[in-house]
């Protein structure tokens, strides 16, 4: 009987993430046998002007503070005219690794500090997002034009943000209704591979001082890019042959509506709705193409928040819900389904997910320099899937955090504690962080020291617990993954020059790994362990002539601590030890332009140190001019070196050089 090898090493945990990525990863494995960081831009975070740095290192404080978490803020406005994806915005931050599955419109996932995507929370306006089965969210489903800022908080932040934030959290801050005057914007971008993007947004005033923002984004691409492949990859220097990517088309429509209503003095209501619908081909990895496989998804998020200020006390009540439907068609387990195939394995696979939550949060001062925040949230999540069955679990969380300023403001400490009940699982997440500015009142006042530590857990996803399909065996007895992290860093922030550097050390236990379940299936077990340490450096310099320089560097050393004679002590797969992002740009009144470089060093391709993914370099460049009034025209070239041999982690080819022309206006 032929064997099905366990899917190896997406990351710490080789588990299914979204249905799409799961199956595509599974194909290769099979045949050869995976909350508001509330880093919401709160009152404590100063808004950077448009000409400000690309990313900013901040201490995020909100109603559920992240304390002195090491955080970077990416200002989406700095990329105007470039039409970046959410994944591309994230890739500009240190500590971030984006795992793409091929070209435009295809799945992308984020990993922080070497953790797996499942160990990273992604939130939209404070609402946690999830893929089918509770797995990591596919970033390609999130329209970037709706986002004003992306806040990346790194570290084990379960105490501040809730279960699941083992590597950290990414908060997508949607565009606000903040402008006092009506505002309209539109953008049309077209480029290689038949890619077209249309976006439009409007901020309007309604009755009773209410203001609303409406935004739409339409994307499509035929995905037919040229690439080069080897037929005999083990032969050193084997020739490359030209090929064209097929069945990689994608189309998505998204809508965002946000309304803010000041009810009366000290009482505000805001509501948000985001809906999206899409269809795309699932082309499969090189050599295992699936020319008929398709995925469609529809989903929506609705949230409403009531915020009351009584004296110095802030009370927030919030409710939200999210729902999604994902359908996979003609996606056989390791083979291409024939046209109109009657095989049950090629039938439509559906996954419905639903999540709801109610939250109450009270922040009150103890003294002028000391405040306490308490929170209670309760809700549930449901899954109904073709191969997972129908399941639900309740979620209840209790949290308390402290924000104390000592030594005349020179030292701030942020202890936090959270108790999460997820189904039958209970997790306790303590955290402590502190920041100090020891040189207040001196010439080196901008110098700041910060440190933090946290312990938290990630409950198993519905997929890990119940997904029973093809070669995947569920394991309802899984326990939560656990993690401990300590970090420390320095920061210097002045107007023309901002720099930060930090180090971290993390330890993961009870990691959920898919193992061969003899003879032909894989099953998840709590058998993994790892330690990850690293360093992050970020630099931002404003130069004359409105030129800016940004550099983000990450070092990660991820070591497998699983007690295994073959894996123990080896590097975890798919983690690039060195990542560098550098960008030089100019944002002027009439001319703008940029050039940026992304570099990732070679990384292990399996858990045994016997295969390697080579280093990759990508250079992008673009320029724009204000043609008339508010109308800008931009031209961008990606992968300037036209390297057509690059592949993502799972042997999906990546496009060579491509261009995009954009016309945009805001008035």
């Amino acid at each position: 009987m032929p064997l099905v090898e366990a899917p190896q090493g997406r990351l710490v945990c080789s588990r299914a993430k979204s249905a799409a990525s799961f199956f595509t990863v599974l194909l290769s494995a099979l045949l050869s046998w995976t909350r508001s960081v509330r880093a919401e831009q709160d009152a404590g975070v100063p808004e950077e002007p448009v000409a400000g740095p690309l990313t900013e290192v901040i201490n995020v404080r909100g109603s559920r503070p992240s304390g002195a978490a090491q955080t970077s803020v990416v200002d989406a406005e700095r990329f105007a005219g470039e039409a970046p994806t959410v994944a591309e915005l994230l890739a500009t931050s240190p500590g971030v690794s984006v795992q793409r599955s091929g070209g435009p419109g295809q799945a992308a996932f984020v990993s922080l500090r070497g953790a797996s995507p499942d160990q990273t929370l992604v939130l939209l306006d404070g609402i946690p997002l999830q893929g089918p089965g509770g797995d990591a969210i596919d970033l390609s489903t999130l329209p970037s034009s709706f986002v004003s800022k992306v806040v990346v908080s790194r570290g084990v932040l379960g105490a501040q943000l809730g279960a699941g934030a083992l590597g950290g959290a990414v908060e997508l801050v949607p565009k606000t209704t903040g402008a006092s005057e009506p505002e309209f914007g539109a953008e049309l971008a077209a480029g290689s591979f038949g890619s077209v993007r249309v976006t439009a947004d409007a901020v309007v005033s309604l009755a009773s001082a209410a203001r609303s923002m409406v935004a739409v984004q339409l994307d499509r691409t035929n995905g037919r890019f040229q690439y080069e492949r080897q037929f005999t990859p083990e032969i050193p220097g084997a020739p490359y042959y030209p090929a064209v990517r097929e069945n990689a088309d994608a189309m998505r429509a998204s809508l965002l509506v946000r309304t803010e209503v000041p009810l009366r003095e000290g009482l505000e209501l805001d509501a948000l709705f985001q809906g999206t619908a899409a269809s795309r081909g699932l082309p499969g990895p090189v050599g295992m193409f699936t020319p008929r496989a398709r995925e469609s998804d529809q989903g929506g998020i609705f949230g409403a928040r009531l915020r009351a200020t009584v004296g110095e006390t802030v009370i927030q009540a919030r409710g939200w819900g999210r729902a999604s439907l994902v359908q996979l068609r003609a996606l056989g387990l390791g083979f291409d389904c024939p046209e109109g195939g009657s095989s049950p394995a090629c039938a439509v696979q559906q996954s419905h997910t639903l999540g709801t939550r109610g939250e109450l949060e009270v922040t009150f001062p103890v003294s002028l320099s000391h405040s306490i925040a308490t929170s209670l949230s309760a809700g549930g999540e449901w899954l109904a899937g073709s191969y997972a069955g129908i399941h639900r679990r309740e979620i209840v969380s209790l949290g308390i955090s402290d924000d104390a300023s000592l030594l005349r403001g020179a030292l701030s400490v942020y202890p936090a504690l959270r108790l999460d009940f997820v189904g039958t699982m209970t997790g306790f997440s303590p955290g402590l962080s502190a920041s100090a500015r020891p040189f207040l009142g001196t010439a080196v006042e901008p110098f700041e020291v910060r440190a933090g530590a946290g312990v938290s857990f990630r409950p198993p996803t519905f997929s890990e617990l119940y997904l029973d399909t093809g070669p995947t065996q569920p394991n309802p007895d899984l326990r939560p993954e656990r993690a401990l992290s300590v970090d420390a860093g320095l920061r210097w922030k002045t107007h023309p020059f901002t720099a930060s550097a930090g180090v971290f050390w993390s330890r993961y236990r009870d990691l959920i790994l898919y193992e061969l379940y003899p003879p032909a299936r894989v099953k998840p077990y709590n058998i993994g362990a790892a330690r990850i340490r690293g360093a992050e450096v970020q630099l931002s310099v404003r130069l004359p002539l409105e030129v800016g320089l940004e550099v983000a560097y990450s070092f990660v050393e991820a070591v497998n601590e699983r007690p295994s004679a073959t894996q123990g002590g080896r590097k975890l797969s798919y983690r690039s030890p060195h990542r560098l992002f550098a960008r030089l740009d100019r944002r002027g009144d009439r001319l703008e332009g940029f050039v940026q470089v992304q570099l990732s060093s070679a990384m292990p391709r399996n858990a045994y140190g016997t295969a390697e993914l080579p280093a990759q370099v990508r250079i992008d460049a673009g320029a724009g001019v204000r043609v008339a009034g508010p109308l800008w025209a931009d031209l961008e070239v990606r992968n300037v070196l036209d390297d057509r041999t690059q592949q993502d982690l799972f042997q999906y080819p990546l496009p060579g050089a491509s261009f995009q022309a954009t016309a945009r206006a805001r008035f």
């Binding site: 009987m1 032929p2 064997l3 099905v4 090898e5 366990a6 190896q8 290769s28 045949l31 050869s32 046998w33 037929f231 005999t232 990859p233 083990e234 032969i235 050193p236 084997a238 020739p239 042959y241 050599g287 295992m288 193409f289 056989g332 387990l333 390791g334 083979f335 291409d336 389904c337 009657s342 095989s343 049950p344 394995a345 090629c346 093809g470 070669p471 193992e515 061969l516 379940y517 003899p518 003879p519 032909a520 299936r521 077990y525 295994s564 004679a565 073959t566 894996q567 391709r605 399996n606 858990a607 045994y608 016997t610 295969a611 390697e612 042997q651």
Partner: protein, 380 residues
């Protein structure tokens, strides 16, 4: 791969004889580029609404240059969807003959994933379904390669699901897919020997992993070798008469899938998920493993290894390729002398070298047999 000593000796002798007759290296008749296998109704699906695939797996050599290929006959969920089959193939003509090892009862043998040449007989392993509710179809069947007729059949002991088989002098050894245990059949009577009853217990392999199974078996001389398939894969040497473990086990790699005796007497083991070849030197009392003797750099997912003189032939299902390695080359960077792609989506599973440069390959997903010539270009 796992051929018995007698067969190997016979093959080598025959090759040498033919080589001497031709005055140079033996050249087999060129195999056809592609040999189709039964499909559709010819696979006798249990349920006509659940079509099956031939899903050819292991190839064993047969008489007169023929080969026998086991067809697992699985549905699209990789569950048995029809009777297990064996196909006799003549590589140079493409003539195929379908054999039903289970005879008239289509459920007597399912998921026939392994066939081994056992001298003048073939041994077919019917693994059956992996569903705990379906215990039919599990068996070891002896087939006469001369007449293509099934001769004898033996069901496994309770709690066993046969994985691999190797014929010893007096016992036929069978591995379990659910554990690191062996049972045996008496070669003369085809009745259960080890694991027959409490007084004749199964042989427990000393493999520490909790999730392990028997990934291959091989009889070589006075030794029975067993591969423990696990993330920590071990090679164990046993006495082919008693099943007693001889010496210490050795670590070979992650998820070993196949082994063979190389021309220099060492054992070559391929490890699927670590993508490596481990060479094991067999001493009188000890085994010395050279782990990661050769590494494939592209997540190769190795499924098979065969030997012919100084050459090793490997199958990498993830990259749809087969390779030829020259063990006489000392520089690992130059050891891989040829590679051939078997086609997108083919998922090659087993290889049978016909001479030093030609071979046939079973493609598990493509559902065919292809002929490859390592002297020709890389593309199929």
């Amino acid at each position: 791969m796992n051929r018995s000593v007698s067969t190997r000796s016979f093959t080598l002798a025959l090759a040498a004889f033919l080589a001497s007759c031709s005055g140079g290296s033996f050249r087999a008749p060129p195999p056809l580029a592609s040999i189709p296998l039964p499909s559709g109704s010819a696979l006798r699906p249990f349920d006509p609404t659940h079509p099956t695939r031939p899903a050819p797996a292991v190839i064993a050599s047969g008489p007169s240059g023929s080969a026998f290929v086991s067809l697992t006959n699985l549905d699209d969920n990789f569950a048995p969807g029809g009777p297990g089959m064996l196909v006799r193939v003549q590589p140079e003509t493409g003539v195929t003959t379908v054999i039903l090892p289970g005879g008239a009862d289509d459920h007597a043998c399912t998921n026939s994933g392994v066939v081994r040449n056992d001298g003048n007989r073939l041994l077919v392993v019917c693994t059956g379904s992996f569903s705990a509710q379906e215990l039919r179809g599990r068996a070891v069947i002896e087939v006469d390669p001369a007449t293509n007729a099934p001769l004898r059949m033996a069901a496994p002991p309770a709690g066993f699901q046969p994985s691999y088989v190797a014929g010893g002098p007096r016992k036929i050894w069978v591995g379990d897919f659910g554990s690191a245990r062996l049972y045996s059949l008496d070669r003369n009577t085809f009745a259960l020997a080890d694991a027959a009853d409490e007084s004749h217990p199964a042989i427990q392999l000393p493999c520490p992993a909790s999730l392990t199974y028997v990934a291959d078996l091989l009889v070589n001389g006075n030794d029975l070798f067993a591969l423990c398939g696990a993330d920590e894969g071990y090679l164990v040497r046993l006495d082919p008469e008693s099943g007693a473990v001889k010496g210490d086990k050795v670590l070979v790699g992650a998820q070993p899938t196949a082994m063979t005796v190389a021309g220099d007497g060492r054992l070559a083991v391929v490890n699927s998920v670590s993508g490596t070849i481990t060479m094991v030197t067999i001493g009188a009392q000890t085994m010395i493993a050279e782990v990661n003797f050769f590494s494939f750099g592209k997540s190769a997912a190795l499924q098979d290894v065969r030997a012919r003189g100084q050459f090793l032939y490997t199958v990498a299902s993830a990259t749809n390729t087969v390779q030829k390695l020259d063990l006489s080359v000392k520089d690992p960077a130059k050891m891989l002398v040829a590679e051939v792609n078997t086609g997108d989506g083919s998922n090659p599973w087993n290889i049978l070298p016909l001479d030093d440069d030609q071979a046939i390959v079973s493609n598990f997903i493509a559902g065919n047999i292809v002929g490859v010539d390592f002297r020709k270009g890389a593309r199929p």
